[in-house]
Subunit: 346 residues, 4 copies
Amino acid sequence: MIKVGIIGATGYAGAELVRILTGHKDTRIVWYGSRSYIEQKYADIYRNMFQIVDTKCLDDNMEELAGKADVIFTATPQGFCASVINEDILSKTKIVDLSADFRIKDVEVYEKWYGIEHKSPQFIKEAVYGLCEVNREQIRTARLVANPGCYTTCSILTAYPLAKEGIIDMNTLIVDAKSGTSGAGRGAKVPNLFCEVNENIKAYGVASHRHTPEIEEQLGYASGEKTVINFTPHLVPMNRGILATEYASLKKDVTAEDVKAVYDKYYKDELFIRILDEGVCPETRWVEGSNYVDIGFKLDKRTNRIIMMGAIDNLVKGAAGQAVQNMNLMFGLPEEEGLRLVPVFP
Amino acid sequence: MIKVGIIGATGYAGAELVRILTGHKDTRIVWYGSRSYIEQKYADIYRNMFQIVDTKCLDDNMEELAGKADVIFTATPQGFCASVINEDILSKTKIVDLSADFRIKDVEVYEKWYGIEHKSPQFIKEAVYGLCEVNREQIRTARLVANPGCYTTCSILTAYPLAKEGIIDMNTLIVDAKSGTSGAGRGAKVPNLFCEVNENIKAYGVASHRHTPEIEEQLGYASGEKTVINFTPHLVPMNRGILATEYASLKKDVTAEDVKAVYDKYYKDELFIRILDEGVCPETRWVEGSNYVDIGFKLDKRTNRIIMMGAIDNLVKGAAGQAVQNMNLMFGLPEEEGLRLVPVFP
Amino acid sequence: MIKVGIIGATGYAGAELVRILTGHKDTRIVWYGSRSYIEQKYADIYRNMFQIVDTKCLDDNMEELAGKADVIFTATPQGFCASVINEDILSKTKIVDLSADFRIKDVEVYEKWYGIEHKSPQFIKEAVYGLCEVNREQIRTARLVANPGCYTTCSILTAYPLAKEGIIDMNTLIVDAKSGTSGAGRGAKVPNLFCEVNENIKAYGVASHRHTPEIEEQLGYASGEKTVINFTPHLVPMNRGILATEYASLKKDVTAEDVKAVYDKYYKDELFIRILDEGVCPETRWVEGSNYVDIGFKLDKRTNRIIMMGAIDNLVKGAAGQAVQNMNLMFGLPEEEGLRLVPVFP
Amino acid sequence: MIKVGIIGATGYAGAELVRILTGHKDTRIVWYGSRSYIEQKYADIYRNMFQIVDTKCLDDNMEELAGKADVIFTATPQGFCASVINEDILSKTKIVDLSADFRIKDVEVYEKWYGIEHKSPQFIKEAVYGLCEVNREQIRTARLVANPGCYTTCSILTAYPLAKEGIIDMNTLIVDAKSGTSGAGRGAKVPNLFCEVNENIKAYGVASHRHTPEIEEQLGYASGEKTVINFTPHLVPMNRGILATEYASLKKDVTAEDVKAVYDKYYKDELFIRILDEGVCPETRWVEGSNYVDIGFKLDKRTNRIIMMGAIDNLVKGAAGQAVQNMNLMFGLPEEEGLRLVPVFP
């Protein structure tokens, strides 16, 4: 039994970790960390867990937790993990960090986009970027995994094979993404109130959203070129789901069959990536509650562009599901253990 | 491996059966019946099942299906099951009927409220009303189970212990129920369009809804008295969930502890019924996607009434989940097999 | 031109006052009071008002405001109006208080249900309860109007004629009410976040909601009997709208025509009350954005009860619209000035 | 008093015409045409109009209607207006066609994208494209106005000044648009059911949506260049609103002030177009129920692109509101008559 500690267990991503791990046969949660709800029963905060989880929330003492857990998930705001991590902790336990602290290899880029000083740059190099389908082998042996962001997971996986194979002109890539509101977190802020989000759609963080450099770095590795993109997130009045609509000019004269073959080359054996039949557009409802990434595309001969579309559940493949997938890899478990979640519809 | 046939597999309840049975380790679905989509791939209708279910829809030939399946779920409109069932079929297979055809023992009551002739009244007596927590033993040996309605499951279980113990005056019982829109089915009707349901709440079927006599019959058995109630359903702009708010005058001078003890007497060992702590109101979000019934109550000394509240997921405990629970009982499997579904939130 | 001051102009009710008064030909808003946003442009908070309202928010200095405005709307939390009102202010200006401070005549009842001390009980007697269709004449000459609550407006008007005419047994009255989320206000609280409200329905304040004594007092006046009711509010995932479903036993043997005649007796000439045709249930969508109250009913011979249903827009007839209707009466304007708002659907 | 006939009065756009014209002081609706509801009371279909509209639905006899109405709005499916229009009708009445029949000047382009034969190509040249802010003068004298599509109104107006002034490279223009569900119409179709749309976002009509050539034609006129774009519509779980997020490479080295000046040059005096302050993103909630177009933009020096964003209410500026604005122009009325609708929030 793998002993799991969660820091930030009462955020939406943390709660999704609890939901998924409750159905994981090889793990036991030993620490429900939540600075805001110390000493309160976890099931009083998330009443779906009534009679399922019978324990109280603890603080975020990583030192103590490192001695008790085989793996720690930090589902915490930017800067937390970097501020507490040290060699002693890493010598005792593995860490899957759901924040951005160790995703970006260039510390200056991190500090510029996030506006905070990185407190543990010495671990950045060691950290493995936990996009399982791309970095599977390095993850297996990692002590510290940087779990990718929700928008980034969707945006990267949707374009990755075409970037890798040089099919698309990376300088033309535009990612127009749409997210459910759980991505905004559980903080009590006026813009996230029901009446402010419902019956509305808006863009935000235009040309400045923090997931931009993460997408650029990873697609840069894939394409072998410096990649600078437009990334525009939008807030959608729904709980879960991200849809990324991506546009790029074609560098080669390809048919739909060619493109399909490229996707299949990379994803055919991936359990959690489903390449849709031609002409089928992914929809967030079809992946809700599951770890799937659904990908579709359309060639437009009129503009010589390809429109790629990817859909995920932001809390599963975009956060907790991928974190568990990473944990499975790190501990030599079947990668899909605990993640055979059938999408819930309607 | 139990071979399962589903008639009506592309309705919302049928699709939920597919979702649940996909995670059930002792069953295999051998027949996805759907009159509307014959010969189409099931996963083309419910794309969440892409790469999970790889088969086509079939017709609703019960005779043929009876020879192939150990159990048939009929998730069909009123009248269908009664019109096709016969001794030959029942001699070959078990049936869990999700329609109302065999729920009401008095055929005249059925015909009056449903406005159709009952085509197989000879099987009404044999049919067991599949409210598992109440009729568990009879269900184990049944050939034909009448799976309760969604509103009725919630309404009955919420009041049952107090009716049984004579705590409440049955003549004063009022059930004000609120349902998500999946309860209205997947038929293409204007009143169920997004723009018609969204940003709205309404009552419907006031003093005439078909679930009324079913609640009355079962609570009549529980209380030992003829029970005539007001039942008012409302349509809520959400996908899933039923909340029943029930009012009744108290026949005895009871404390909250007394009432809690009565609920515990009947439900303490029930895995799927959760009696909430005092002062906690059930909410549909805490049971979404699961087979739980959450029940809370409040005594009002000012009016000498008790307000009972129950919440279920209408597609799970209110339809497919309870149907599988019935199947498990009928086949001697652990009652919760396939049903340890953790509620999904948010 | 009537000069209007609004205290609490950036809450949802205050903002609705701004919207309505923008279309009122006899008023001019001279004071947008908002303690939280002093010195900020009003249109930066409510961007729908961009290029419509071009002024900044001010504080809540009632003394100063009284010298500048002909009428003040206090759309503020409980206790504010009572804590600042005095004879000097009332000698200079009229007040329509949208809080509960002056709704309840018995100060002990107020203090018990609201849990705060009433700071100006000397004005309670003078204050007129601003339910326009009931207290029209007194409102015309009032200096201080207590604008009714949203739930109460809907609950009272739906039952009022039957209470007044002795048709229903007041001891059996049960009000099961459902409200959109704008009724919860614009405060940044976790329970009102989008993901907490969406895809959910719950009861709250069961047997203890503060609107209860207000309904009881007014229906007590109507029926001439002490009235004690059950009132249960529910939170619905929609922005606007209240639906009250009310149950009562009949004291007389009446037909639907009789009941219709009673409603017509009181409401036939009321512009803002629409008695629906028999069998038609009110729905919140049909009154959204308007000052209408839609009322329907159903007799149930089986239980000898009547089910009455009323629907309003909680921000209009339940708050700002009724406040403007009161103002119109107080200033001798046509009662419907500024309120001929056609419901917006979808 | 201008006598107005509406064909298609029970669709969402038709109903919005009714709502708006109800508040228009110079018009009277003489014909509520609705093939599906002939002889039914209009207020029985749209109950928001109870006691406001007291008349029955009529058929779609344009010949007869032409003799009775000064102007006819055809809020009908593609092909209807073209199939019934003739010189006799146009000699008696003016027509504002809300369908696509007369929007596209090249009949071959129309027939290719819409897949139907154009039955009255002889009137295409005469028809004026009713984008009021662009073609105001021609509209004043038109007999036949082709009211622009919802997506197109938003997409064109958002980019128009920059296209006209040669700021953006038209070959790089990408329009990623998001629409509320009322844009899908009131037809009873499974994909538009509440449970299918709610909690979901999807793209549709990728690289093939019929509004594409309309946008291309108009922006081609503006830029003076043949314009071929990518246009991708998405369906959002909300009733109303369109947000267009548009991307284009810059042809000139411009500052935000330069761009703002360009927008101001064209729109400063336009009542219904609001250019937002720098850094402010338009949101559909701020224009809901109104005829406004809110436009914002962001320069991205990293990619040398501009991101333009526009928001409208698809039923108002995207359909009925603009149709009334066109009517006002055609009859020499103040352009904003009946259209001073303050956006409704929340």
